[in-house]
Subunit: 340 residues, 2 copies
């Protein structure tokens, strides 16, 4: 047999040999099993300490068919919103003795599929995922379902039946945002929304429409424009809004980055921020308060807490507290925060 490179790490076999007892006794002694004599336990535990013994987790993972690992797949790790979420996920996973495998899709569907594949091969116990902007096909998640690997979707959740999900109630947050603008006297409010297929976009639009309804105002579809979240797309959207006959005096933007791009565009058009035009956004950067022209208000989405909630839901499934097919959608409340 090929002599595998021994990492030098002592094994229970080693301990057993040195103490002239069987490996099973060593194993049980280390687990404080009741059927092992106190003397033996002590001897084993002392020798283990001396040798610096450490259980080989890979062996246990393999033997138990469980890895105490969760895969987390996000579109972009460097975005503030997601990195806060990761922080929340890692914190609660850590305190439950789980570790975190990481992958970023860069909004690329093929890469998303590959990472899910890799997670599956790594036999993760479960996944937390926020899908990419361009993902249209959900076969990879169907695979996970068949493999009985639980998935909790989070923030960017796909439009699928029977899923576990944690997200923010953007509809109500949007209602608050539009309410705020209406109360400040704005009557022609534009919205730069995200890609149409995202639930997040649908919710924003729904909130917008509901807020108008509450105030018995009629809704003009021209005022909501779906953009692609790039600077160019935002500029195009702004151009569209500013060309309309009714003068747009306020804009709700999909997120802070879009807001900042929109502000740039408005400034180029010689518009005065907060006078000619007011912006309200959805918070996803911690430094927006330091920004030159911050949005007048923004809808806080609590990414850290969302990450915690998603992880807790996943852990509940893994513990058996929550049944795998008891699909839950945890919807957290968003909150409008004024900056002026």
């Amino acid at each position: 047999m090929r002599k595998v490179v021994s990492s030098g790490q002592p094994t229970i076999k080693e301990i057993a040999k040195r103490l002239n007892i069987s490996v099973s006794t060593v194993s049980r002694a280390l687990h404080d099993h009741h059927s092992i004599g106190l003397r033996t336990k002590a001897r084993v535990q002392q020798l283990a300490a001396e040798l610096g013994y450490e259980r080989n987790q890979t062996a246990i993972f393999f033997q138990q068919g469980k890895t105490f690992t969760i895969g987390i797949l996000l579109p972009e790790l460097s975005e503030a919103f997601f990195s806060s979420a990761i922080s929340g996920i890692e914190d609660t996973a850590y305190s439950n003795n789980y570790t975190v495998l990481l992958g970023q899709s860069h909004d690329d569907e093929a890469r998303e599929k590959q990472i899910i594949q890799s997670f599956k091969q790594h036999r993760v116990d479960g996944c937390i995922v926020s899908i990419g902007k361009n993902t249209r096909n959900y076969d990879h998640f169907e695979m996970l379902r068949q493999a009985k690997i639980p998935v909790v979707f989070f923030d960017r959740i796909p439009d699928l039946p029977n899923i576990h999900a944690v997200s923010c109630n953007l509809e109500s947050g949007t209602v608050q945002a539009v309410d705020f603008l209406l109360k400040k006297g704005h009557r022609c409010i534009g919205m730069i929304n995200g890609p149409e297929q995202l639930v997040a976009s649908k919710e924003r639009a729904a909130g917008y429409i509901r807020a108008l309804g509450k105030h018995r105002l009629k809704y003009d579809p021209e005022l909501i424009v779906n953009a692609d979240l790039t600077a160019a797309g935002t500029a195009a959207a702004m151009q569209h809004l500013l060309k309309l006959k009714r003068k747009v005096t306020a804009v709700v933007t999909f997120n802070d980055y879009v807001a900042m791009d929109a502000v740039q565009y408005a400034l180029k058009q010689k518009l005065e921020i907060n006078k000619d035009i007011t912006f309200v956004s959805y918070a996803n950067t911690p430094v927006s308060s330091y920004t030159a022209f911050p949005p007048a208000a923004s809808v806080e989405q609590f990414p850290y807490e969302q990450g915690q909630a998603a992880t807790n839901m996943l852990l509940d499934i893994l513990n058996g507290t929550l049944a795998l097919n008891d699909y839950q959608q945890r919807i957290m409340e968003s909150q409008l925060v004024l900056h002026t």
Copy 2:
């Protein structure tokens, strides 16, 4: 024997039984081994596809004593600098078929030690770590060294001999920064530095002193103050600098967050930014350009590229291209970027 919950995943044993051949043949067929007949190969591969066979990585990890996993330990996942770095690390790990285990220390030494322990138990092939602000004891890294688990330190590197490390040449960047201020006519330049024991702090101080030396100016130790990077600490540091007899007209701050805190303090003292006082900082947030009072210039540290470089160095060690005891310090050039 206890019947382990079969995940329903097909194994090579399954395939072997169905085809009436041995598992070794199946294994070799799936690896395209030359000693397997074409017909057999085809039959195996087809059945594997039909059954949706997927190798059990945990078994392979265990058997090979290698996990194709690297642990990455950072102080704070939600900080822009680190999340960019993660992005770089994940990208290059991914394209080399490695996956990433994540941990954040929150600058807590005990937690840092626990995470390293967990990484070790998970039998990661190597680690990339940026140490916490408060870490004084390096026993956990000594453990890794003894276990022959390679570690590449990155950005916040400990003051230890014989380590692999990737960092930015903050000294030269600082020279550029101070040069820039001197050329703009500033003669009394303060520096809000980080905790003394950090190499990053020492480099900044050294650069500051070297720049003054280049211009034949004498160095006043009062002008460099070590702070703890909190808002309160920064305020105290600013207070100290502004109380000095010689009027400080420019300040080099440890990072953008410190800069923003310092700006806040200066504003409270009714100072006019970029007139009464000018700030230069070290870039670690992508949105500093949107900030109301951005630093006049900042030293870019290229976190994404640093992450890539650290990962590449680690992979070189794992591949055997670079010897484990051939300690390398890769120092990347920082670059002063003007914002005005």
